[in-house]
């Protein structure tokens, strides 16, 4: 049993990229990384920052340009493919075959690092296959053809296949990419539970900033050549997330932990109210391009939310709306009178 907190993976001066002939294209350099047991890490970064390259390199599918990877204190290079497969399992973006293969057979391929040269499975192997299917809540899918599964179900089975490898490290490359929101949330909480319960080190790359902030124990950010890491809340507060993702058109909202489109000039609105009504009114206003301001004097409009109504005042205009839809209807048609 590996005690929680032990380093499962360490890198020293790791540089990654592509080498073709004499040309070397370095994408990431001098990485000092650790993954500890029982830790769920989310890897964030804009497209093309090298998330997939990092995952492929850490799992031994792509050779690093330089530096060292140590798995459980052993040099990665000294391990045979079979030994590596017992330490690291992966879930990649590549499609799985789906013809003439049921979920159980797909999961059983995860037992390859343990079975003999013919691939015959022992009773213990079958136990592990059932355990893996059960762990992701896919036991009832076992006899279904992989081709008939939905994207979410296939992703679960795919994770069960990786689990069946009984590796302490699991790397997942954008496993939530094709899933709907409830399925994403379900998958993230499942993976975090697995990491904590099985004392595994899980590394997952994703574009779901919001989910990553809520579920990850730690976050790695790739941004150009830079690498930052830390606890999600600290990264959000200290502006590291803002650094990695903000562009000319995006602003980081440190209070809400989200990015929003950058607006040039906008009409300021003062909002008075609280509870869900106020939250969604604010969202609606922001979507329409209005800015929320804190003092009533400087605002073009002020909106007061009562139990039954939205009261809008603007100079001489006074309007009452009985639903949010009506308010949004009116605001989206409102045009500022030409100045002069």
């Amino acid at each position: 049993m590996i005690p929680q907190g032990t380093d499962l993976l360490q890198t020293k001066g790791l540089s990654l990229g592509y080498a073709q002939g004499k040309e070397r294209k370095t994408i990431l350099s001098e990485l000092e990384l650790q993954i500890r047991a029982g830790e769920f890490i989310c890897l964030l970064g804009p497209n093309g920052a090298g998330k997939s390259t990092l995952i492929r390199s850490l799992s031994g599918l792509q050779a690093p340009l330089s530096g060292e990877i140590r798995i459980n204190k052993q040099a990665f290079d000294s391990l045979s493919p079979r030994e590596r497969a017992r330490q690291i399992s992966v879930v990649l973006t590549e499609t799985m075959p789906s013809g003439m293969m049921d979920a159980r057979m797909l999961v059983s391929l995860g037992r390859h690092p343990y079975s003999g040269w013919l691939g015959r499975l022992s009773a213990h192997d079958y136990e592990k296959i059932d355990w893996a299917l059960d762990a992701v809540g896919a036991s009832d899918l076992a006899t279904r053809q992989v081709s008939e599964l939905s994207d979410g179900e296939r992703q679960k089975v795919s994770i069960a296949r990786a689990l069946a490898q009984e590796a302490k490290l699991m790397f997942l490359d954008e496993p939530t990419a094709f899933l709907d929101l409830p399925r994403r949330v379900e998958l993230m909480s499942l993976l975090r539970t697995l990491a904590h319960r099985e004392k595994m080190g899980l590394l997952l790359s994703t574009h779901d900033l919001d989910l990553a902030l809520r579920y990850a124990d730690r976050i790695w950010i790739l941004d150009g050549q830079k690498f930052r890491q830390g606890y999600p809340e600290a990264l959000a507060l200290e502006g590291d997330l803002a650094h990695a993702f903000t562009s000319q058109n995006l602003d980081w909202d440190v209070e809400q932990g989200i990015f929003r489109p950058h607006r040039g000039t906008c009409i300021d609105v003062y909002l008075d109210g609280n509870g869900p009504k106020a939250i969604w009114t604010q969202r609606g206003l922001e979507r329409l391009g209005y800015g929320i301001c804190s003092s009533e004097e400087s605002a073009k409009f002020s909106i007061r939310i009562t139990d039954t109504e939205w009261k809008l005042t603007s100079g001489s205009i006074l309007k009452n709306f009985t639903s949010l839809s009506e308010l949004i209807d009116w605001l989206s048609q409102y045009q500022e009178p030409a100045i002069n």
Partner: protein, 339 residues
């Protein structure tokens, strides 16, 4: 259960082939010649032991070889349309034969008498040599590029060689073209006991090598990256799998001519019948079903009861194409078979 019925079908067809073909013989006569009974007409005994028996053995081995090679190719390339010939095996062989039949033929008689070889054996050598050379080139390249590129390189080499063959044909005379075309029809009758000493061991080595690869081939169903992640030496497996397929397809093409469709059809049929993609079932199944289809095609090609011999290739295509169409219609997910 299915394995048993395959085996039974194989026995029945082989016996039918022994008895029919050319002149029909009574089963008792066949049995007598096989057991070397003295009171038998020596000509008939010779027909059975020196012509029909090796022919059937050739058909069995060739069918098993092509089906297994096809299965391996489909798995390695993750492409349901891959067959033993995607690497340019048959075009390589046809170039060898074309050179012998079309280009060297004017001086060919001198070479043949000089080397003291029969014309048929020379063709076998040329075809095998051509196939081996092409494969060596493709295999060498396959170690440096990814699997899709291997497929495309194989295709391009095929086209190039096909062009060379067309040019040779363009400058050739009618009767030489005729002999080239009849080679390209495919025939199991070229392998006598002498050639069998090379043919059978080559096929057996290829089949044993394939059987050794059942587990890594299962892993390769996931694609090379996943295969590697579960402990497979992907490049090494790809090399040995292609080597096995090359040996199998190369030997068959060399000795029997380019025989199409068996290699595509038999593995698909096996997947349908056994409802699995596990290779430790599919390889033995393909060996049996390939042999069965092959012997069956040869039986039909020689038109039992008729005095004609149809081109073997036409029969395998007639059997093979409907099988593929049926598989496509019944299993609409075929395109997703390999992801």
């Amino acid at each position: 259960m299915l394995f048993a019925s395959f085996g039974l079908g194989l026995c029945i067809l082989s016996l039918l082939n022994l008895c029919y073909g050319g002149t029909p013989l009574a089963p008792s006569t066949v049995l007598a010649s096989l057991t070397h009974q003295a009171d038998l007409n020596p000509v008939i005994a010779q027909i059975v032991t020196d012509f029909r028996l090796p022919r059937i053995l050739t058909a069995l081995l060739a069918g098993a070889a092509l089906a297994t090679a096809g299965l391996i190719m489909q798995t390695i390339f993750r492409n349901p349309l891959a067959d033993p010939f995607v690497l340019g095996v048959n075009s390589g062989a046809s170039l060898g034969v074309a050179i012998v039949l079309l280009a060297l033929a004017p001086t060919g008689s001198a070479i043949i008498s000089g080397l003291n070889l029969s014309g048929q054996l020379l063709i076998v050598l040329a075809a095998s040599g051509g196939a081996a050379t092409t494969l060596a080139v493709v295999l060498l390249l396959s170690r440096r590029v990814d699997v899709m590129s291997v497929l495309i390189i194989g295709l391009m080499i095929s086209y190039t060689i096909g062009a060379l063959v067309s040019i040779l044909m363009f400058f050739s005379m009618a009767e030489r073209l005729q002999s080239f075309i009849s080679w390209s029809f495919g025939d199991y009758g070229n392998v006598g006991w002498t050639q069998m000493a090379v043919f059978a061991p080559t096929i057996l080595i290829g089949l044993v090598l394939s059987l050794c690869l059942v587990k890594p081939l299962d892993a390769m169903l996931l694609g090379e990256r996943y295969a590697q992640s579960i402990g497979t030496h992907a490049k090494q497996v790809r090399f040995f799998a292609l080597l096995a397929a090359s040996l199998l397809a190369g030997a068959v093409t060399g000795f029997c001519g380019p025989i199409g469709f068996l290699g595509i059809a038999a593995p698909h049929l096996c997947r349908q019948l056994f409802q699995t993609s596990r290779h430790w079932i599919l390889i033995p199944a393909s060996i049996l079903l390939g042999a069965l289809l092959s012997v069956g095609s040869d039986f039909v090609a020689r038109g039992p009861g008729l005095d004609i011999v149809l081109p073997l290739n036409a029969i395998t295509a007639l059997v093979g194409a409907p099988v593929i169409i049926a598989a496509l219609v019944r299993q609409r997910h075929l395109k997703r078979l390999f992801g």
